[in-house]
Every structure is written in structure tokens, then in C-alpha cells.
Subunit: 342 residues, 2 copies
């Protein structure tokens, strides 16, 4: 494949190349790329705004993450935060810092994933910054969304007695990462050995191409259920449950036996002698939604295949606990993901 | 000074520590830090949004840039973009990636500069991301501003015959950087040698603590002058003039003899045998405003001490030129700052 050095284009040439195909999709985007700032308009809406920074070697390893997937995921993780406010994403800005090891073609791959996510979720890429770094790749995405004031859902609204629900299944992204890391180790020892991914396509996709659960937001709207609180699961269920309980000043019991785990997650966990529950509680990167609903919604929610009731909210002084299949009550810990550890 | 390893706090502990003192200043900030996204409201305004990414070793050198100044500057460069739209900044998000070499105290220094800029410019810090990097420090700031629709000024409105104006003076930040680099070289050879900054406090401040020219926006409003086009000078005058001419589909003549240069800029340029004009045209980081006004505003503008008329807009086919003191006409080149060069 042709490898064009970025120095041939310079910053402005690169920006032109990466943004020339952008077509604005949202009425709220008045002007996008091309001025000192983008201009937006939301006369009757509240605006939500969220941002994430991903760095090479910490959040992703280019040994096994294709750049297109990385671009897609960098967008999706931010849209997930917008959906977690029960809002609709409309715009993103994308800033990247790249070292000179990257070619134009590599950056175009990254942007093809960014554009694909914009297309799929109907959001406009309205600006950003393209600059260099001494080493590695850094991606910073900011997402802007809109909601009517009465639609917004915060972390702080859970009430004692509410049902605790999650969308989809948990722990898959973490097990997918374990699989990628294992095959990468094999490859480093023997570059002629093809990676063994058969039967694990689902957990691989959970890691490499997660989706943001805008469909769950729509489903709840169709059911006429407004969650009392909501958060997206980026750092593992434990950590998110604790955030939600702290913000809402409540406790909760969640049940091991209710934990939604995909068969591939369980199978690969067994292969590695990992408890799949640990992957669900502490693994992170599932980008499912954790939310609470009033107990009156029980009948409606329990019919939904893609939503699992995993527990209920209690009073603050009872704490946030996991109830094991054996009946033990274990306080949840924000083990999660500590990126600041050495 | 005490050096607390960041691993002692973890991500959530660090975020709490860095954000606990935030007090919301703007009506448009409904909720800030603490949920999946911040919530904003601008019912009668247009919103402008801009973002910048700064990386260690490229945009700043911690050998001679104090962390507090770095935090301040990272905010200011974004506010400058908001003012360049003739808008008022209201909120920022700040994401940082840090390697384990940084202590809590170092990050608090960085944030003290961020908070100082928020205080000075009346903006709210509403969110961000705090994560780690394998090497070095990366800072990504997104700024959100508001304006009435009829106040917004784009790069694209310059008309033939308009006056080309700049605020303040140019080239100082670049000469300040040369001074810092020279003294740093001296220091590396002889660590006991104190740096020689006497007489150059102004250019040092231009580099280390630039300000965003919200005062110029206010001044023009008081004079009842709405610029026909505007851009902030981050990459050097040449590059910005070319952006403005391209967006407005016009040409221009700017005059060497009109170039606003501070005495310290000229003195230190002479000391280094650099033409100060080159510092103004290609140096960058001055964060002054470049704007055009109708010729009818001439009498009002020329009285303003802090604004200099440096030329006029011509038709597109005449190109964007520098007219030298000797009368030569030289096409401007976007030499500027090419961060993507090896």
C-alpha cells in the first residue's frame, strides 16, 4: 500500500483531505469545519457535552487494533455518554496528535472509522485539531447532544425500591481484549502462526467495534418508561453502580445469578480460568447502559429480551452489594480500571 | 515540595481533587462535572465550539514552561478562537493524559493555571477526562461560547476595500520562545548560571502567559463596529491572512511599515540577527485578532491605540501580498507552523 508521509501535505493539507467529504446532516449544525469555531443552534433544547481522550499504549494497542476500528470506537464511547443522559448525539469534534511514523493512508484509515460512526449515528463532524506528538497516537473526541429538559436523565435520580437494569450483556469486551492479547503474544513468538479467533467473533467485536446503545434509549421511549437514573458502563459494572449509588445517595443489591453473560464470554473465561463475573464487574468497555426504573415498570421491562433486571435500589446505609448465587452479600468495589497506576 | 504519586488517588480521587472547588459562574451551565455529560442551555443564542490539543515536546517544553502557565495558556488559546467568532466564551472541558512521572502536586499546579484562566475570563470548567499516557503530557481543551446570530463574525466576510486590522503587536511570543530556548541551552551547559531575562519581561510574558483579546471584541462593540471578517493569530500573521483571504475569496496588501512590533521584540530580534518582520509573519502564538472593517470605520479605528491598520482588502486575483518598505510586492506564504514536519 502507498505510504504518503504527512510532511508532504502539512497540517492544512491534511485537514482539507480529512474533511472535504463531510456533509452536514443536522439542522442544529449551522457551520462546521473551516472557521475558528463551529456554530450550532439549539433554540428549544438543552445541550449535553462530553469528552474522552484515548492514548496509544494505554487505551489501545496498534499491534492488534485496526485504525479504522479505533476511529469508530473513539466516537462511539462518547456517543455512549450522550445516550446515558437520555439525549441524542448531534455533533462531534475530533482532535488527534500523531507522530511522524504515521502515513497519510494510516490517518485516512482512522478517519474512515470516524466517518463511519458519524454516518451510522447521524452525527456531524464539526471541528477539531490535527497536530503532532513525539511518540504515538492520541485521540480526543468531544460529543454534543440535545434533549428536551424533561427527557434528561442524570445519575442522581435513583430511588429506593427502583429496579436496577442493564442492556445487552457484560464482560464480553474484556474477554475480547484477553483474546487479542493472547493471540498477539503467540504472534510475537511465531509470526507465521495465524491468530485463532474461531468461535469468538462476538467477544472480538465487543472489544473492537462496540456500539452505543441509542436503540435502548429509543426502546424505553417507545415503552413510555423514563429511567430514574442512568450511566453508561465504560469502566465495569461495579464502578458504575457505585457512581450511580453515590450520586443518588442510595444503596443497592445486585444479583450474581442475574448477570447477563454471553456464551462466548463464559466459554473463553473458562478457557482462561477467569470467573466471567469478574469480567462483567471489573472488565469495562462494554458500553451498555445501566439504569434504574420504578418498580411499576417491572412487567414492561421483564418482557424485553435486551434488558436484564439485575437488582434493586436500597437505602444508602445498606451500601452497594453483590448478592452471590450462594447468598453471600459482598460490598461492590470500584476496582474498575485505574489508568493512573504505574 | 511534597510529591504524591497519582496512583495513591486513582482516577476518581484525582478528578474529585481537581474539581471540588469549582463554582458555576454562568447561567447557561445547568450542570457541570459529575455525570456522563454536562448540561447546557442557550435558548436565545447561537453556540460556538472549538478545540485544541497540546502535546509535550511539540507545543511546550516543561524544561522552561511552568505547569501553571501551561494550564492558563491551554485555556486561553481556545478562548481566543471563541473571541475570533465575536462570541463570548462560557464553558470549557479539559482532558489530560499524564505519564506516571507527574505527581499530584504537579497536576494541581497545571489545574491552578486552568482555574485562573476560568476565573479571569468568567468561564466554567464543566467536564473532561483524566487519563494516563506512556510518555509525556497531553492537554485537550474544548471551549463553548455564545453569541446572538447577528453578532457572529466569520472568516468569510471580507470585502474588497475593507481595512485589514490587527490588535496589539506581533512576533513577541516567538521572540519570547527564542529567549527561553537560548537560556535553556545555557542552563544545560552550566546549571549554576541564572537565566538572563532582564529587559525582556514583555516578550517572555507574550510566550508564557498570552491573553485572549476579549477586550478588543468589547472595544469594537463600544465603537459600534462589527468586523466583516475575523480570525485569531495563532500560527503567524501570514498564515492567518491567507486563511481569511481564501475564505472570503479576496486578496489583500499588507504593509511592512505598518507592522506593529514591540521594542523588546525588535531589540531581541536584533540581538539574534533575526528580522522581526519574520517573527511577526511566521512566528505564531501571539493570539491577537486579525480582522477587517469597512473603510467607513477608518476614523474611529485609527484613534485606537491598541488596533493597527496594516493594509486593505483587494480582489481575489491580486493575491495576498506583503508590500515592503522598499515598495516590493511579495506574495505571502503560509510558512507558519508545520507541526507535521519530521
Amino acid at each position: 500500500m502507498k505510504q504518503t508521509p504527512l510532511s508532504e501535505l502539512g497540517e492544512f493539507g491534511l485537514i482539507t483531505r480529512l474533511t472535504e467529504k463531510i456533509q452536514i446532516k443536522n439542522e442544529s449544525t449551522l457551520t462546521g469545519v473551516g472557521d475558528d469555531a463551529a456554530v450550532l443552534s439549539f433554540p428549544d433544547k438543552k445541550i449535553v457535552i462530553t469528552t474522552d481522550l484515548l492514548t496509544e499504549g494505554i487505551h489501545f494497542n496498534l499491534m492488534y487494533v485496526p485504525l479504522k476500528h479505533l476511529g469508530y470506537k473513539a466516537v462511539v464511547v462518547n456517543l455512549s455518554d450522550v445516550f446515558a443522559m437520555n439525549a441524542t448525539p448531534r455533533q462531534i469534534t475530533v482532535s488527534i496528535a500523531i507522530s511522524s511514523k504515521f502515513s497519510l493512508e494510516a490517518i485516512e484509515e482512522l478517519y474512515s472509522g470516524i466517518h463511519l460512526a458519524c454516518e451510522k449515528y447521524g452525527v456531524d463532524l464539526i471541528g477539531g485539531d490535527t497536530t503532532s506528538s513525539l511518540t504515538g497516537l492520541t485521540i480526543s473526541v468531544t460529543a454534543i447532544g440535545e434533549a428536551n429538559e424533561d427527557e434528561l436523565v442524570y445519575r442522581s435520580g435513583a430511588k429506593s425500591g427502583d429496579l436496577v437494569c442493564v442492556s445487552g450483556d457484560l464482560g464480553g469486551a474484556y474477554m475480547g481484549l484477553q483474546l487479542l492479547e493472547r493471540e498477539n503474544e503467540v504472534f510475537k513468538v511465531n509470526p507465521n502462526q495465524q491468530p485463532q479467533f474461531e468461535g469468538y467473533d462476538y467477544i472480538l467485536e465487543r472489544q473492537l467495534k462496540p456500539e452505543a446503545r441509542g436503540d435502548i434509549k429509543e426502546l424505553l421511549k417507545t415503552l413510555d418508561i423514563k429511567p430514574t437514573s442512568m450511566i453508561d458502563i465504560s469502566d465495569g459494572l461495579s464502578s458504575e453502580v457505585l457512581h450511580l449509588c453515590k450520586a443518588s445517595k442510595v444503596g443497592c443489591n445486585i444479583y450474581e445469578e442475574k448477570m447477563p453473560l454471553d456464551k462466548q464470554t463464559k466459554d473463553f473465561a473458562e478457557e482462561l480460568s477467569i470467573n466471567p463475573l469478574v469480567a462483567a464487574l471489573n472488565g469495562g468497555e462494554d458500553y451498555e447502559l445501566l439504569f434504574t426504573v420504578p418498580i411499576a415498570s417491572y412487567d414492561l421491562i421483564k418482557k424485553e429480551f435486551d434488558i436484564t433486571i439485575i437488582g434493586h435500589i436500597t437505602s444508602e446505609n445498606e451500601g452497594a452489594n453483590l448478592v452471590t448465587t450462594g447468598g453471600s452479600i459482598i460490598p461492590l468495589q470500584a476496582q474498575g480500571w485505574n489508568p493512573l497506576k504505574d
